[in-house]
Amino acid sequence: MKSIKILLTATCLSVFLFNCSEDDVNDRNFATSPEGEPIEQFDGTYTLEDQMARPAINTVFVNSGSKDTFNTTLPADMGSAFQSSFEAKLLALNPGYTTNALGLDAATFTTVLATDVLTVSLDGTTTFFDGTNVLTGRTLADDVINVELLLIFGGPMGADNPGLTNDNVDANDKPFLNSFPYLASPW
């Protein structure tokens, strides 16, 4: 009986000590598992190096000397920093640009593009463009390059410059999965 008491006391003590040490490690910014065990330390400050939202924005619209700057400019600051150079780039790519299939003139279109965020609907269809919905997300199968080519070169009806509005690569080289993790296994 006495030995049981000692055992219980020892157990309680060890639980108590364990809890103390757990608090200590939390103070040092350890993550803990659902069971309360410390896993790894995640201290430190991480600094921005690369970013993206919509596909091919930096590569197509940002001039070669400014690509690193674009990657480290916060989205909220991108519009004022890059809209005018995006507009110049658009008109260099397509000197005949008037409006596009979304009805956006050069200034309006590049104002949208320069703040590089991807809008995603939480209420239904998510797609870059599916013939009906525009910019409500981006799925793996969306032919985003054709959409962007059409908006840059296709004019108000999408009929201008037909040789430049479709790269004739319409799908991935491996089928995607219907379930998580969705991407195809590596080659």
Binding site: N29, G44, L48, N58, D68, L122, V169
Partner: protein
């Protein structure tokens, strides 16, 4: 055959390195080809319509074989999914993915300590972790019953498709149109991929979000 693949892989890298045009592959000198180089970003409704899936790919144009099997996530690089819920292009929520000792740890979605260029990790926000999948093995998936978050990290086929070689010829003034059929410059190449599926309820529930992905180095 293997040698041919290696030669093709090297040739592709050389072409890509010269033109620097893609979804976001090798987009800028400072990150080109490095461990923090984001190649692509996707956000879409999951198989379960109550969820949104975020996909961030890094380290593109990996040839099959040794280039892919030796590719690793950099333990000093955080991949941060930024989520703006009130249309001001400032992140209200983040999901942070950080590799450590063969696992990828996911924090959030949570309101970050600070917004902008620099990030720290709030360790209490740990949502799930997953073993980093090995090349040639089955995809390791974690599915947290507590947070409802699914996670994957490891090599995958590059989902991007584009006749980027011909686009480069057009931009260089050497061609006036695309070819038909075109040729997918990214066919047969791999990326290092992070996939996280999150209940919409953790992102605001309804309406729209704005999102972008960042790589940040410690």
């Amino acid at each position: 055959m293997k040698k041919l693949k290696i030669i093709l892989g090297v040739g592709l890298l050389a072409v890509a390195g010269y033109f620097t045009v893609a979804a976001d592959h090798i987009d800028a000198p400072a990150v080109m080809g490095g461990s923090s180089d984001i190649t692509d970003y996707f956000a879409f409704q999951g198989q379960d319509n109550n969820n949104i899936v975020f996909v961030a790919n890094v380290q593109g144009l990996l040839a099959p074989g040794s280039a892919t099997s030796s590719a690793t996530f950099d333990e000093n690089v955080m991949i941060e999914f930024n989520i703006d819920t009130n249309a001001d292009a400032v992140e209200d929520l983040v999901i942070q993915a950080v590799p450590r000792d063969g696992k990828m740890y996911f924090f959030g979605p949570y309101q970050p300590n600070s917004t902008g260029i620099s990030s720290t990790i709030k360790s209490e926000a740990l949502a799930t972790s997953v073993n980093i999948s090995q090349y040639g093995g089955a995809a390791a998936i974690s599915n947290s019953s507590v947070s409802g978050i699914k996670a994957f990290a490891g090599p995958r086929d590059d989902p991007f498709f584009f006749d980027f070689a011909q686009y480069s010829e057009i931009i260089a003034g050497n061609a006036t149109s695309f070819n038909n059929p075109g040729s997918d410059t990214f066919a047969g190449t791999n990326v290092m991929s992070i996939v996280v599926e999150v209940p919409k309820a953790l992102l605001g529930g309804s309406g729209s979000i704005n999102t972008w992905v960042e790589s940040k180095r410690k």
